[in-house]
Symmetry: C2
Subunit: 280 residues, 2 copies
Amino acid sequence: MKALIAGLGLIGGSFALALRDHGIASEILGVENSEQHAAEALKMGLADRIVSFEQGVAEADLIVLATPVDTIPLMAVKALNRVNDRQVVMDVGSIKSELCEVIAMHAHRGRFVAVHPMWGTEYSGPRAAQRGAFSGRNVVLCDTAHSDPDAVARIEAIFRALECPMVYMDPEEHDLHTAYVSHISHVTSFALALTVLEKEREERHIFDLAGGGFESTVRLAKSSAATWVPILLRNKYNVLDVLREHIHQLQIMRRMIERDDAEGLKGLMDRANTIQRIIK
Amino acid sequence: MKALIAGLGLIGGSFALALRDHGIASEILGVENSEQHAAEALKMGLADRIVSFEQGVAEADLIVLATPVDTIPLMAVKALNRVNDRQVVMDVGSIKSELCEVIAMHAHRGRFVAVHPMWGTEYSGPRAAQRGAFSGRNVVLCDTAHSDPDAVARIEAIFRALECPMVYMDPEEHDLHTAYVSHISHVTSFALALTVLEKEREERHIFDLAGGGFESTVRLAKSSAATWVPILLRNKYNVLDVLREHIHQLQIMRRMIERDDAEGLKGLMDRANTIQRIIK
């Protein structure tokens, strides 16, 4: 099988490695706007050739859209305009409602499968690509009822080979839950980094005292604006809703600390502890 | 050397293992109020014997206070009341101002060394104790000018053996910076867990979608109230100060998302990214 990956960054690059390592793709074509990224991707073996999007769509059996989420809907339409009924187009983006709405009435809608593998790191670009990245991680498939059964089966076979448990949701449900579970974590991590950078004029102290839990909560603050500005803005209403609730929870804790309310704080922390039933 | 560890939980238990593994203590006495924890600690080899605090202080060369921070100042006074000029008392608590103030005028102040090893996990109790916990992590020593030189030298020799770089601060400076770098991370993590538990009535979705960064930002929400309520309340003014700034940063991000201010968000994220210069 010949695969085209548009966007050879963290996710696209890791997916290219997975397709190759599992013997799923015999040839991988890549689309990369950045010359530097194109050179890195070729050097790392993420693609055999860099091609134009049009050329890649004409050649590939599987077309994977792995660019920032604000660019995916139009690329999906452009890809669907050119595919025949044996080609499959998928994306790996973090939000789905706008995408699924834009392609809903396309004559070739059936050739598209909306996919979100639940894996990522705070790094970006081809050099962030990792072998074995998706293995064992859940993958969400959205709106599969609107995809042709053979296209869905093709995608399911790929993720079965990668040993990814598959979860099925509609796009609105997906965007709501990813706001809660993924997007808000990035917002708080960015804000925490900004807080500490604002308050700690002497960076040496941050360095000296790291180890107190800071690294894990601030890790995601290293994530790139190119990826995350579009995600937050394209999932705006869900993100704002959960962000309002988060600020509210912080204000409750603040008032309890102000009032030395040990019992109240204990109650909140005990309840927060129950998250370990869900997250190991 | 004979060591007494008061509180054989995460930190005290791990310190007991370190003292034993490095051949620093030939015998370890433990103080544990909880019968279950005492039994677990003996079974795990964290202590050779469980003793009363008074008995332990009478016997030990080194007395280590590893109980919740609200109990440390009075225990420090009670230990200092009984020690001779060859014994050394240290704590491993996360806040220092109140402690150092309480013991400031004690006739045996010189026998106390205020210590904060910058290591921890979200787990608690004897079973959370880990071998090699402190190795290579920074350790903060506070107000060493008020400790006897031989007592400081004894503590420095221990942390040199554990390969911990030593950092010297005054207690107020320590409490301010740990509020920024450690305590606020716990507050945001608790609040994030509460937010998601509040919004996500279906826990299955949290589980299905984890992998999007949530685990690392929410990890500290598993931390125990017994440890963290006293830390937040005893470091109240510093914690409130940094919490106010954090809520302010979140409100700035919220307003930018509301206004679709992509440039503004990019600016904030680019600035947040600079945290990687400091935290690897």
